[in-house]
Amino acid sequence: MTTKIQIETETVSERHATPAFLVIYLLLGVAFGVVLTRSEVLSWFRIQEMFRFQSFRMYGIIGSAIAIAAVSVAILKTLGAKSATGEPISIPKKQLDGGVRYAVGGTIFGLGWALTGACPGPLFALIGNGVSVMIVAVLSALAGTWAYAMLRSRLPH
Protein backbone atom coordinates (compact mmCIF):
# COMPACT_ATOMS: atom_id res chain seq x y z
CA MET A 1 0.00 0.00 0.00
CA THR A 2 2.74 2.42 1.02
CA THR A 3 4.67 1.67 -2.15
CA LYS A 4 1.61 2.35 -4.24
CA ILE A 5 1.05 5.77 -2.65
CA GLN A 6 4.70 6.60 -3.15
CA ILE A 7 4.52 5.72 -6.81
CA GLU A 8 1.43 7.89 -7.21
CA THR A 9 3.03 10.96 -5.61
CA GLU A 10 6.04 10.50 -7.84
CA THR A 11 3.88 10.47 -10.94
CA VAL A 12 2.19 13.67 -9.83
CA SER A 13 5.48 15.47 -9.23
CA GLU A 14 6.86 14.25 -12.54
CA ARG A 15 3.84 15.55 -14.35
CA HIS A 16 4.45 18.91 -12.64
CA ALA A 17 7.84 19.22 -14.16
CA THR A 18 6.80 18.33 -17.71
CA PRO A 19 7.53 21.10 -20.22
CA ALA A 20 3.80 21.50 -20.98
CA PHE A 21 3.06 22.54 -17.39
CA LEU A 22 6.10 24.76 -17.17
CA VAL A 23 4.95 26.57 -20.32
CA ILE A 24 1.55 27.19 -18.68
CA TYR A 25 3.23 28.75 -15.64
CA LEU A 26 5.44 30.83 -17.91
CA LEU A 27 2.44 32.11 -19.90
CA LEU A 28 0.46 32.93 -16.76
CA GLY A 29 3.50 34.85 -15.51
CA VAL A 30 3.69 36.73 -18.82
CA ALA A 31 -0.01 37.61 -18.46
CA PHE A 32 0.60 38.91 -14.92
CA GLY A 33 3.58 40.98 -16.09
CA VAL A 34 1.51 42.49 -18.92
CA VAL A 35 -1.35 43.35 -16.54
CA LEU A 36 1.03 44.89 -13.97
CA THR A 37 2.44 47.11 -16.70
CA ARG A 38 -0.77 48.06 -18.52
CA SER A 39 -2.64 48.68 -15.26
CA GLU A 40 0.31 50.78 -14.02
CA VAL A 41 0.30 48.84 -10.72
CA LEU A 42 4.10 48.66 -11.03
CA SER A 43 4.38 52.45 -10.96
CA TRP A 44 5.86 54.21 -7.92
CA PHE A 45 3.49 57.11 -8.77
CA ARG A 46 0.40 54.87 -8.50
CA ILE A 47 1.59 53.48 -5.16
CA GLN A 48 2.07 57.02 -3.83
CA GLU A 49 -1.39 57.95 -5.08
CA MET A 50 -2.76 54.93 -3.21
CA PHE A 51 -1.02 55.65 0.11
CA ARG A 52 -2.20 59.28 -0.14
CA PHE A 53 -5.79 58.14 -0.76
CA GLN A 54 -5.97 60.35 -3.85
CA SER A 55 -7.44 57.84 -6.27
CA PHE A 56 -9.75 54.85 -6.12
CA ARG A 57 -7.77 53.07 -8.82
CA MET A 58 -5.42 50.85 -6.78
CA TYR A 59 -8.16 49.98 -4.30
CA GLY A 60 -10.43 49.04 -7.20
CA ILE A 61 -7.74 46.81 -8.70
CA ILE A 62 -6.79 45.02 -5.46
CA GLY A 63 -10.43 44.82 -4.29
CA SER A 64 -11.79 43.36 -7.54
CA ALA A 65 -8.83 40.97 -7.77
CA ILE A 66 -9.65 39.64 -4.27
CA ALA A 67 -13.38 39.40 -5.10
CA ILE A 68 -12.83 37.45 -8.34
CA ALA A 69 -10.24 35.20 -6.68
CA ALA A 70 -12.55 34.56 -3.68
CA VAL A 71 -15.52 33.63 -5.89
CA SER A 72 -13.31 31.37 -8.04
CA VAL A 73 -11.79 29.62 -5.02
CA ALA A 74 -15.27 29.12 -3.49
CA ILE A 75 -16.55 27.59 -6.74
CA LEU A 76 -13.53 25.27 -7.05
CA LYS A 77 -13.96 24.15 -3.41
CA THR A 78 -17.71 23.58 -3.79
CA LEU A 79 -17.15 21.51 -6.91
CA GLY A 80 -14.36 19.58 -5.17
CA ALA A 81 -12.38 20.23 -8.33
CA LYS A 82 -9.08 18.56 -9.12
CA SER A 83 -6.12 20.21 -10.78
CA ALA A 84 -4.92 19.17 -14.23
CA THR A 85 -2.20 17.23 -12.41
CA GLY A 86 -4.87 15.20 -10.62
CA GLU A 87 -4.51 16.69 -7.13
CA PRO A 88 -7.56 17.82 -5.16
CA ILE A 89 -7.48 21.63 -5.19
CA SER A 90 -6.80 23.17 -1.78
CA ILE A 91 -5.14 26.24 -0.32
CA PRO A 92 -3.27 25.29 2.85
CA LYS A 93 -4.39 27.51 5.78
CA LYS A 94 -1.70 29.68 7.34
CA GLN A 95 -0.96 29.15 11.03
CA LEU A 96 -1.93 32.19 13.13
CA ASP A 97 0.23 31.30 16.18
CA GLY A 98 0.89 34.57 18.02
CA GLY A 99 0.23 36.59 14.90
CA VAL A 100 3.35 38.69 15.56
CA ARG A 101 5.04 37.69 12.32
CA TYR A 102 2.09 38.91 10.27
CA ALA A 103 1.77 42.27 12.05
CA VAL A 104 5.48 43.05 12.34
CA GLY A 105 6.64 41.39 9.13
CA GLY A 106 3.73 42.97 7.28
CA THR A 107 4.63 46.44 8.58
CA ILE A 108 8.28 46.01 7.61
CA PHE A 109 7.24 44.94 4.11
CA GLY A 110 4.85 47.93 3.97
CA LEU A 111 7.73 50.33 4.64
CA GLY A 112 9.66 48.75 1.79
CA TRP A 113 6.60 48.74 -0.47
CA ALA A 114 6.20 52.52 -0.16
CA LEU A 115 9.96 53.22 -0.42
CA THR A 116 10.57 51.13 -3.55
CA GLY A 117 7.06 51.79 -4.86
CA ALA A 118 6.90 48.11 -5.72
CA CYS A 119 5.98 44.78 -4.21
CA PRO A 120 7.96 41.71 -5.35
CA GLY A 121 6.00 41.03 -8.59
CA PRO A 122 6.28 44.62 -9.84
CA LEU A 123 10.00 44.69 -8.94
CA PHE A 124 10.61 42.07 -11.62
CA ALA A 125 8.10 43.59 -14.07
CA LEU A 126 9.94 46.92 -13.66
CA ILE A 127 13.22 45.31 -14.71
CA GLY A 128 11.34 44.08 -17.81
CA ASN A 129 10.10 47.64 -18.29
CA GLY A 130 13.68 48.83 -18.50
CA VAL A 131 14.09 50.26 -14.98
CA SER A 132 17.26 48.21 -14.73
CA VAL A 133 18.39 49.72 -11.41
CA MET A 134 15.66 47.58 -9.81
CA ILE A 135 18.11 44.68 -10.20
CA VAL A 136 19.83 46.26 -7.17
CA ALA A 137 16.49 46.32 -5.30
CA VAL A 138 16.03 42.60 -6.03
CA LEU A 139 19.57 41.79 -4.81
CA SER A 140 18.83 43.83 -1.71
CA ALA A 141 15.56 41.94 -1.22
CA LEU A 142 17.52 38.67 -1.40
CA ALA A 143 19.87 40.07 1.27
CA GLY A 144 16.79 40.94 3.37
CA THR A 145 15.45 37.40 2.98
CA TRP A 146 18.87 36.09 4.01
CA ALA A 147 18.96 38.37 7.05
CA TYR A 148 15.56 37.05 8.13
CA ALA A 149 16.79 33.48 7.78
CA MET A 150 19.74 34.26 10.07
CA LEU A 151 17.66 36.03 12.71
CA ARG A 152 14.65 33.74 12.43
CA SER A 153 15.20 31.74 15.61
CA ARG A 154 15.58 34.94 17.65
CA LEU A 155 12.50 36.74 16.28
CA PRO A 156 9.03 36.49 17.84
CA HIS A 157 6.52 34.75 15.60
Partner: protein, 185 residues
Amino acid sequence: MRDFLTASWPWYVAGPLIGLIVPALLIAGNKVFGISSNLRHMCSALLPSKLDFFRYDWKRAGQWNLIFLMGVLTGGFLAAHLGTPHDIAISPETRLALMHLGLHDLSGVAPREIFSWHALLTLRGFVSIVVGGFLVGFGTAYAGGCTSGHAISGLANFELPSLIAVFGFFAGGLAATYFILPHLL
Protein backbone atom coordinates in the same frame (compact mmCIF):
# COMPACT_ATOMS: atom_id res chain seq x y z
CA MET B 1 -6.89 45.60 -30.27
CA ARG B 2 -3.61 47.42 -30.63
CA ASP B 3 -5.07 50.39 -28.77
CA PHE B 4 -6.10 48.09 -25.96
CA LEU B 5 -2.62 46.62 -25.71
CA THR B 6 -0.95 50.02 -25.51
CA ALA B 7 -3.44 52.00 -23.42
CA SER B 8 -3.69 52.17 -19.65
CA TRP B 9 -6.25 49.58 -18.51
CA PRO B 10 -9.05 50.64 -16.15
CA TRP B 11 -9.18 49.07 -12.69
CA TYR B 12 -12.22 46.92 -13.51
CA VAL B 13 -10.28 45.21 -16.30
CA ALA B 14 -6.93 44.87 -14.50
CA GLY B 15 -8.27 43.73 -11.10
CA PRO B 16 -10.40 40.80 -12.35
CA LEU B 17 -7.56 39.65 -14.66
CA ILE B 18 -5.19 39.53 -11.67
CA GLY B 19 -7.87 37.72 -9.65
CA LEU B 20 -8.22 35.05 -12.36
CA ILE B 21 -4.55 34.10 -11.99
CA VAL B 22 -5.49 32.49 -8.64
CA PRO B 23 -7.90 29.85 -10.05
CA ALA B 24 -5.73 29.43 -13.18
CA LEU B 25 -2.74 28.32 -11.06
CA LEU B 26 -4.94 26.12 -8.86
CA ILE B 27 -6.46 24.42 -11.89
CA ALA B 28 -3.12 24.02 -13.68
CA GLY B 29 -1.29 22.36 -10.80
CA ASN B 30 -2.85 23.14 -7.41
CA LYS B 31 -0.40 26.04 -7.06
CA VAL B 32 -1.04 29.00 -4.75
CA PHE B 33 -0.40 32.45 -6.26
CA GLY B 34 2.37 34.20 -4.30
CA ILE B 35 5.46 35.97 -5.59
CA SER B 36 7.66 36.59 -2.55
CA SER B 37 8.44 32.91 -1.86
CA ASN B 38 10.59 33.16 -5.00
CA LEU B 39 13.08 35.26 -3.03
CA ARG B 40 13.44 32.34 -0.64
CA HIS B 41 13.72 29.85 -3.52
CA MET B 42 16.44 32.01 -5.12
CA CYS B 43 18.45 32.18 -1.89
CA SER B 44 18.07 28.44 -1.44
CA ALA B 45 19.12 27.73 -5.03
CA LEU B 46 21.93 30.24 -5.44
CA LEU B 47 23.57 30.28 -2.02
CA PRO B 48 23.36 26.83 -0.45
CA SER B 49 23.74 27.20 3.31
CA LYS B 50 23.14 25.50 6.60
CA LEU B 51 20.30 27.88 7.54
CA ASP B 52 17.10 25.93 8.25
CA PHE B 53 15.00 28.43 6.31
CA PHE B 54 16.77 27.49 3.07
CA ARG B 55 17.05 23.74 3.61
CA TYR B 56 14.28 22.26 1.50
CA ASP B 57 13.88 21.01 -2.06
CA TRP B 58 13.56 24.42 -3.77
CA LYS B 59 13.21 22.83 -7.18
CA ARG B 60 10.27 20.71 -6.16
CA ALA B 61 8.62 23.51 -4.20
CA GLY B 62 9.47 26.48 -6.34
CA GLN B 63 10.48 25.61 -9.89
CA TRP B 64 7.01 26.43 -11.21
CA ASN B 65 7.01 29.76 -9.35
CA LEU B 66 10.47 30.80 -10.56
CA ILE B 67 9.31 30.10 -14.11
CA PHE B 68 6.15 32.14 -13.43
CA LEU B 69 8.44 34.96 -12.22
CA MET B 70 10.52 34.80 -15.42
CA GLY B 71 7.20 35.24 -17.19
CA VAL B 72 6.42 38.36 -15.11
CA LEU B 73 9.72 39.92 -16.20
CA THR B 74 9.07 38.93 -19.82
CA GLY B 75 5.49 40.24 -19.67
CA GLY B 76 6.78 43.56 -18.35
CA PHE B 77 9.22 43.73 -21.24
CA LEU B 78 6.60 42.85 -23.87
CA ALA B 79 3.98 45.26 -22.53
CA ALA B 80 6.50 48.08 -22.32
CA HIS B 81 7.61 47.55 -25.90
CA LEU B 82 4.16 47.17 -27.45
CA GLY B 83 3.57 50.87 -27.79
CA THR B 84 4.90 54.31 -27.17
CA PRO B 85 5.57 54.84 -23.46
CA HIS B 86 3.31 57.40 -21.85
CA ASP B 87 3.37 59.12 -18.49
CA ILE B 88 1.31 57.83 -15.60
CA ALA B 89 -1.82 59.98 -15.33
CA ILE B 90 -1.84 60.36 -11.55
CA SER B 91 -4.35 62.65 -9.89
CA PRO B 92 -3.57 66.40 -9.78
CA GLU B 93 -3.43 66.24 -5.95
CA THR B 94 -0.73 63.55 -6.01
CA ARG B 95 1.18 65.43 -8.70
CA LEU B 96 1.12 68.57 -6.57
CA ALA B 97 2.12 66.72 -3.40
CA LEU B 98 5.10 65.04 -5.12
CA MET B 99 6.30 68.31 -6.68
CA HIS B 100 5.95 69.91 -3.27
CA LEU B 101 8.19 67.16 -1.83
CA GLY B 102 10.86 68.14 -4.31
CA LEU B 103 10.40 65.95 -7.40
CA HIS B 104 10.67 67.77 -10.72
CA ASP B 105 10.36 65.03 -13.31
CA LEU B 106 7.12 63.01 -13.05
CA SER B 107 7.58 61.16 -16.36
CA GLY B 108 8.04 57.41 -16.79
CA VAL B 109 6.80 54.59 -14.52
CA ALA B 110 9.07 55.56 -11.61
CA PRO B 111 10.73 58.94 -10.91
CA ARG B 112 14.15 59.05 -12.55
CA GLU B 113 15.43 61.37 -9.83
CA ILE B 114 15.24 58.36 -7.47
CA PHE B 115 15.18 55.17 -9.56
CA SER B 116 18.17 55.38 -11.90
CA TRP B 117 21.78 54.18 -11.75
CA HIS B 118 22.66 57.86 -11.55
CA ALA B 119 20.64 58.34 -8.37
CA LEU B 120 21.59 55.03 -6.73
CA LEU B 121 24.31 56.53 -4.57
CA THR B 122 22.37 59.65 -3.59
CA LEU B 123 20.68 59.46 -0.18
CA ARG B 124 17.15 59.21 -1.60
CA GLY B 125 18.18 56.72 -4.27
CA PHE B 126 20.04 54.51 -1.80
CA VAL B 127 17.26 54.53 0.80
CA SER B 128 14.51 53.94 -1.78
CA ILE B 129 16.28 51.19 -3.74
CA VAL B 130 18.71 49.47 -1.37
CA VAL B 131 17.04 49.97 2.02
CA GLY B 132 13.55 49.67 0.50
CA GLY B 133 14.49 46.45 -1.32
CA PHE B 134 16.01 45.01 1.87
CA LEU B 135 12.79 45.75 3.83
CA VAL B 136 10.72 44.12 1.08
CA GLY B 137 12.80 40.94 1.34
CA PHE B 138 12.99 40.90 5.14
CA GLY B 139 9.33 41.81 5.65
CA THR B 140 7.88 39.33 3.17
CA ALA B 141 10.03 36.50 4.54
CA TYR B 142 9.01 37.37 8.12
CA ALA B 143 5.31 37.78 7.23
CA GLY B 144 5.36 34.75 4.92
CA GLY B 145 3.92 36.58 1.93
CA CYS B 146 3.41 39.83 0.04
CA THR B 147 0.58 41.54 -1.79
CA SER B 148 -0.08 38.48 -3.96
CA GLY B 149 0.25 35.75 -1.32
CA HIS B 150 -1.48 37.55 1.56
CA ALA B 151 -3.64 40.34 0.10
CA ILE B 152 -4.97 38.34 -2.86
CA SER B 153 -4.58 34.57 -2.25
CA GLY B 154 -4.93 34.81 1.54
CA LEU B 155 -7.87 37.21 1.70
CA ALA B 156 -9.64 35.30 -1.13
CA ASN B 157 -9.36 32.25 1.15
CA PHE B 158 -10.64 34.29 4.16
CA GLU B 159 -7.53 33.85 6.29
CA LEU B 160 -7.08 35.94 9.44
CA PRO B 161 -3.24 35.87 9.28
CA SER B 162 -3.43 37.46 5.84
CA LEU B 163 -5.81 40.18 7.06
CA ILE B 164 -3.38 41.05 9.87
CA ALA B 165 -0.52 41.10 7.34
CA VAL B 166 -2.46 43.43 5.00
CA PHE B 167 -3.13 45.86 7.87
CA GLY B 168 0.62 45.74 8.49
CA PHE B 169 1.34 46.46 4.80
CA PHE B 170 -0.75 49.61 5.01
CA ALA B 171 0.58 50.69 8.40
CA GLY B 172 4.13 50.44 7.05
CA GLY B 173 3.25 52.06 3.72
CA LEU B 174 1.50 55.01 5.38
CA ALA B 175 4.36 55.47 7.85
CA ALA B 176 6.91 55.57 5.02
CA THR B 177 4.74 57.91 2.94
CA TYR B 178 4.04 60.45 5.67
CA PHE B 179 7.07 60.18 7.99
CA ILE B 180 10.01 59.07 5.82
CA LEU B 181 9.43 60.38 2.29
CA PRO B 182 8.99 64.06 3.36
CA HIS B 183 12.53 63.98 4.80
CA LEU B 184 13.97 61.89 2.00
CA LEU B 185 12.81 63.58 -1.21
